[in-house]
Amino acid sequence: MMPALDSGNTAWMLTSTALVLFMTIPGLALFYGGLVRTKNVLSVLMQCFAITSLVTVLWVAVGYSLVFTPNPSPGLNAFIGGLDKALLIGVHRGALVGTIPESVFAMFQLTFAIITPALVIGAFAERVGFGAMLLFMALWSLVVYVPVAHWIWGGGWLQQMGTLDFAGGIVVHVSAGVAGLVTALYVGRRRGYPATPMPPHSLTLSVVGAGMLWMGWFGFNAGSALMANGTAGMAVAVTQISAATGAMVWLFIEWRRHGRPSVLGIITGAVAGLATITPASGYAGPGGALVIGAVAGAICFVGATTLKRRAGYDDSLDAFGVHGVGGFVGSVLTGVFASAAAGGSETFAMGRQVAVQLLACCTTAGWSAVMTWLALKVADVSLGARVDEEQEVAGLDLTDHEERGYDY
């Protein structure tokens, strides 16, 4: 018997869609916006809004179909989907995916397609022009996000191999984090970095944004259950546990290291915990979440501080240090903590699963790295990616948008 529409599931998924969109606008927008200098706050907000709008159009046009409909050729389907539902043809009021309307499913998935490129902007903040950014993001969505999402969620080869990525540790965080690193290396360091102090212009805004991200992440992880059930409930629990543990661990490491606990530290630790639990969120139990959160706080701390400073790249808002590292580590740990033997919900051979997770992470990272570089190259050659020195000094708000964030 075909499943019928379940209004409970549908209500939850409608809510989750709103929650995850909220994570980008204005959650991530404020989190990142507060971290940059005053003269660039609008550029960050603008990038988030623009990416939201741009990706929506691309998703409706071809993105949704290429991820979630099968390619006519089974061989090609391992790699990319088909165009049956381009322009959302066939997605009518009565169409269902499981027990929820397909329209809701498509929009829920869209919010993931939106936040993934939005995460990348943190790496090249304060120095890339708007036009080039827009072109880069259009290309990136199509050549990185769409294929990877198809590989892992749309019936592609990694899903066929048994890769477990409940809510996007690999699809979202690894792909975006690695892309961030590549873009940061490509465009180079901000003028004056690292000698010149560039403190956040408004940690207050960033805290507001972080709170929105934490709350929205319930939709991100628990919504990925596509149902209002025990899996979603446990996803909420492990998300909360991991966020809180990540925050506390980062806090205490920083307290010990630098003598003071910081606001920037606690919110970053929470985000690290959230990113790292993402791939395991539908499978792990509370014990696993405690471990994953703690590991996230510690390893992402290193990723965003020591690693970044020793290697010398300017990943301005730690897209790689937090999301890339967290997503990678969390996805590999999923191979352990998703297992019933470790308090999770799945049954599998742990050794093999960890290997599959590693393979998925590495191939996604590699694909993202190469395609990101290419997409940025195209944008750079056409429109010029890095703004010139005068523009960078004046700030993107004035030079790209002729607006000021604060008029007092």
Binding site: P197, H258, L264, T268, A304, T305
Partner: protein, 112 residues
């Protein structure tokens, strides 16, 4: 006429203002500035990156006074702005060549 510029701690502005009002001073301009003298700045850390921030927030008070009043004004500012700790600030006194009230065109002491 003299022009007095006082750089004081921001939390002392109200005390200075009250002291000057008590003296009969009829107007002043206050602005938020940053600076340092002997007071060293402070350290800030963002995700492990340590920065020495030299400039400290201060308030600048500007007043035009009659020659006859300047001694009392300077003393009042000095008393009310003092905390006894490093960073209390400084007072500078300049010669004021002319003052004009824009609304009426009055000049000199009548404009103060």
């Amino acid at each position: 006429m003299k022009f007095v510029i006082a750089i004081v701690k921001p939390n002392k502005v109200d005390d200075v203002h009250n002291a000057l009002v008590a003296l009969g001073v009829k107007g002043m301009t206050v602005s938020e500035v940053r600076g340092y003298g002997r007071q060293r700045g402070h350290k800030e850390i963002y995700r492990g990156a340590e920065y020495q921030i030299d400039f400290v927030p201060k308030a600048k008070i500007e007043i035009a006074v009659d020659d006859a009043e300047v001694q009392r004004v300077v003393e009042a500012i000095g008393r009310s702005a003092s905390t006894g700790k490093i960073g209390d600030g400084k007072i500078f006194v300049f010669e004021l060549a002319e003052a004009i009230r824009i609304r009426t065109g009055e000049t000199g002491s009548a404009a103060l």
